[in-house]
Amino acid sequence: MKPIDPTEISAFLDGELSPEDAERVRHAIAEDSSLRCEYEKLAALDSKLKGAALAVMFRPEVTLPSRSEEIRINIPLLVLILVALRFGIKVAPLFIGSAVEIVFLCIFLVWVLKYLLRASEWNIQIQHSRNEVI
């Protein structure tokens, strides 16, 4: 039979061995008093550590940003990039010609401005605005 490596006793305690190796270690612990002594020492420590960990366990109150928040941030940027790619820098003259187009341009520029302002503080917004507590 393959000799027992001391680290295998730890792994056995943690349930991290394959069924065959676990059986081999279980058998060795039952047969060998020094291995049993080592196992019992580690098992006692394991139990104390688990108790200490349970004592400090708590559920932190954290928030997760919503998907709509991020999409609201990203869509203006995507539109801006697409328009810039399509028309280059000569965007403005295309909109001049009708009142509707001028209104549209104004709305678009406000939208972009709003994005730029929001982008600088988006981390704060993600934490504090319309977040869902999980």
């Binding site: 420590l45 550590l49 200490a52 004592a55 400090v56 999980i134």
Partner: protein, 170 residues
């Protein structure tokens, strides 16, 4: 999630929710008080959310996220000029969990002393294993080391801890 992300928001939430309590305990074990632990977990949650594109599905999400939590805790301690150590048992700082916390605290005084005698690498692996309840593969992911190294390092850390603990009891 981001538009180009392969992980949905619901999926992210499903991964994170069952880990929150252990994330709290793990952060608490490093930063030593509840408020800082909450701040660190919140920061780590945002960092994970914003960098989820860097996460590979073939790897352990818990290990990946707990590595971020560890970094956030250590950044927080650095900012406040404190050293990371496990002294997580001031009863006034402990959250109410429904467990018999105070008796646990009294019984763990020697253990806390022993934990503080460990090297940073050994303490880190004990924190992940017990406070974070991480498996070997999750620890390997969090520390970027092979699973075999986790097994041997954890064993050495336990042996050292058992020796320190025995000395303290004498």
């Amino acid at each position: 999630m981001g538009i180009f992300s392969q992980v949905s928001e619901d999926e992210f939430r499903r991964w994170v929710e069952p880990l929150l309590e252990r994330a709290g305990a793990y952060a608490f074990s490093i930063v030593r008080n509840r408020e800082d632990a909450e701040d660190a977990v919140q920061e780590a949650l945002l960092k994970a959310y914003l960098n989820i594109r860097r996460y590979e599905r073939s790897r352990s999400f818990k290990g990946w996220w707990f590595a971020i939590i560890s970094n956030c805790c250590r950044d927080l301690l650095r900012k406040r000029g404190r050293r990371p150590a496990i002294v997580a048992v001031d009863p006034s700082e402990l959250p109410s969990t429904g467990n018999n916390v105070h008796s646990e605290v009294e019984r763990s005084d020697e253990l806390v002393w022993a934990l503080n005698q460990l090297t940073p690498a050994h303490r880190e692996i004990i924190e992940l294993r017990y406070f974070g309840d991480c498996s070997y593969s999750e620890i390997a992911e969090a520390l970027s080391i092979p699973a075999g190294t986790v097994m041997s390092r954890l064993h050495v850390a336990r042996r050292a801890l058992a020796d320190f603990y025995r000395k303290e009891k004498r």
